[in-house]
Subunit: 134 residues, 2 copies
């Protein structure tokens, strides 16, 4: 049973980083290359994101499936779809058009290519009108 997502190496790097050391300095301390320190740090940050996303998913368990944004969709057309579907379900979406778009982008930075949805995104809504993505 492993403890967390982060390896000892990754934690080590994050701690030194927090202290303000450069990758080069850390590389010397832990006897490796700066490129490797960069890789390790990046992996650590990636793992932290994945941890966040994992807990985000738990919310979708309590939420109902609202709709699917198909791949290729223009981000600006998403709000109308979402509002329409939410209205059908009798739930008021918690976000106005602008903040909805922002929430979509911020919560799924990797799933958009400019204004376009990369691959299909599942939208979930809970009774408070909060949105989650799967």
């Amino acid at each position: 049973m492993k403890q967390g997502l982060l390896t000892d190496r990754q934690k080590e790097v994050l701690r030194y980083r927090k202290k303000g050391l450069t990758q080069q300095q850390i590389a010397e301390i832990i006897h490796t290359s700066k490129a490797n320190v960069c890789t390790i740090e990046k992996a650590a940050i990636e793992n932290i994101s994945r941890a966040r996303e994992t807990l985000e998913f738990l919310y979708t368990l309590d939420a109902a499936h609202l709709c699917t944004l198909p791949g290729g969709l223009d981000l600006l057309k998403a709000p109308e779809i979402i509002y329409t579907e939410a209205e059908k379900m009798g739930v008021k979406v918690k976000y106005d058009t602008i903040s909805l778009i922002n929430r979509l982008r911020d919560a799924n930075p990797d799933r958009f290519r400019g204004r376009q949805v990369r691959d299909a995104v599942e939208i979930y809504i809970n009774e408070d009108g909060d949105l989650y993505f799967g």
Copy 2:
């Protein structure tokens, strides 16, 4: 870039589980054995724990190292050690003896064998007197 920690299979099982289906029923739906459903569900829960622990770790980055509880230590002796060290640092621990022990056990269920610390546990404290473990 993977999305979260949970695989599609794991999410699938969690969703069915949330609906109240038994492992046997799920096994039939997804065409596999009940033992396998059990394994997948267990892995999912394990992954969720790991996600939580990962985010917990971030707090230790803002916290100072307080002390190390050596392997084999009696859990009941931990509070005294922690209070003494915290006092040296001029920080007041946020927990009384009882809740401190509970917090130790609850936050590290796998790290104790009865009343004994399995392997050494690092204790971190922030300026609010909150404790974290690494």
